[in-house]
């Protein structure tokens, strides 16, 4: 968690420093003042992003049934199941992070429409106490697909600030359920090839970072 916060702060400072001046003022020999305001053109239509997100309550609800909920203390089991549980031990539990792939189309300079696909998994297994061989897998996965609306409220040549909201379906081993994701504050830096960092809420995790590419379709 600390790594996410530190990284986000570093990127934020860098993006502020990377801003171009947007207004120029020139006076010619005749005393005519010319004020030029630079407005970056929205000359790329397509936006493709790959990111990884941190753990969130929602992702844990889908993967771990509430973070450790499935794990019952051995002492709480009946004797026969205590013996069975004692025959094995659990390996470390790894979380892949929420891997997201999203596409956005710039309808306006401030509005982007698109979609996002997420994937996350927890890998976990039980191994035999005597032979150390794997006896049981407890891997869990989920995938989600959501349309996304992104609002860009600060756009410069190399920096953008934005927020977004997504609503869709999550597919797990159970029935599909409705899920949501929101980027409360996002910052991208770069022109065509860019990096970005976000703070959000929902299935994507509370903190996300990634890279993206902006392009136009070939005519």
């Amino acid at each position: 968690m600390r790594r996410f916060i530190l990284l986000f702060l570093v990127l934020l400072c860098g993006t502020v420093a990377a801003q171009n001046r947007t207004v120029t003022r020139e006076v010619d020999e005749n005393g005519v003042v010319t004020i030029t305001k630079y407005i970056p053109r929205c000359d790329t239509r397509h936006d493709l992003r790959l990111s990884i997100g941190s753990v969130s309550l929602m992702s844990m609800l889908y993967l771990d049934e509430g973070w450790g909920h499935e794990y019952t203390s051995i002492s709480a089991l009946d004797f026969r199941n205590q013996i069975k549980r004692a025959d094995s031990y659990s390996s470390a539990k790894y979380f892949t992070g929420v891997i997201s792939l999203s596409y956005g189309y710039n309808l306006r300079r401030w509005l982007q429409l698109g979609g996002t696909v997420n994937f996350a998994a927890i890998t976990d297994s039980y191994k035999d106490n005597i032979t150390n061989e794997r006896v049981e897998n407890h891997n869990k996965y989920f995938g989600s697909i959501m349309p996304t609306v992104r609002f860009i409220y600060f756009r410069r040549e190399k920096v953008q600030f934005y927020s977004s909201v997504s609503l869709g379906l999550t597919i797990t081993s159970y029935e599909p359920t409705v899920c949501y994701d929101a980027t409360l504050f996002g910052c991208s830096f770069g022109r065509n090839l860019f990096g970005f960092a976000e703070i959000g809420n929902g299935i994507g995790g509370w903190g996300r970072i990634g890279i993206g590419y902006r392009f136009n379709s070939k005519k």
Partner: protein, 249 residues
Amino acid sequence: MKKYIILALVALFSLSSCVLDDGTTRDPNKANEVLVRKVISSLSPTLRNVKYILYADAVVEGRESDAKFIKSHYFPNATIETADDKITITESLSNNQSMQSVVTTGGVKLTEGGSWTLEEVSGDKTILVGTYTGVQGAECTFTTTYTNGKEESEDYSVKILYSLVSNGIKMKVWGAGDMELKRSYTMSFTIDDNNPLIHYYSNTGGSRDTFYYINYFGGAMNIAYTDLVDNTSREVNILFDDDGDHIYN
């Protein structure tokens, strides 16, 4: 700009696959430990019920100092009622209730071949804890049968050679027992005849004793377990040492 991209890529990979839980430690003897604890948790209370028999025996035989020693160590606040054929020991429980341990002697001393019974009376429930024959200093037999009337039962017979020592009761224990939970498992234990369990039952006082798992300082025991659902069996031999530790064979 490239610096930012590279930074993002490094962060992307370094932040993936985080460890949510370290898991548990591998322990090849974990299942054996569960078996041993099950047997000990059933056997030890049985052995400790001997205190009531010892007390009653001391009272019946007129050994006042022994009776005083046992009462002060194991049930100092209990009230005692003595009759010709039984001795009732009433102890207060922590939940403001009381429990009676009734030793029925039938008016026959153990030295005269008597067979005594020990019952626990709590409220309107009376449980026969076991029957007892023999005398202090000789091998005495203590047989106990427990069933909850439904699915679970325990049945074992142990011989105890006991003596009063400075910090309580020292016992040498031989015998065997069976435990069963219907449609789940069966388990049996056998104490090595040539290597009896050495059990110290000491207590600092209080109305109820505490289960001391480590108070076995010698002896060997075999435990056999059968899972009735999976139809699998296992067996473990355990050896207690002088320090109260144990190893598995």
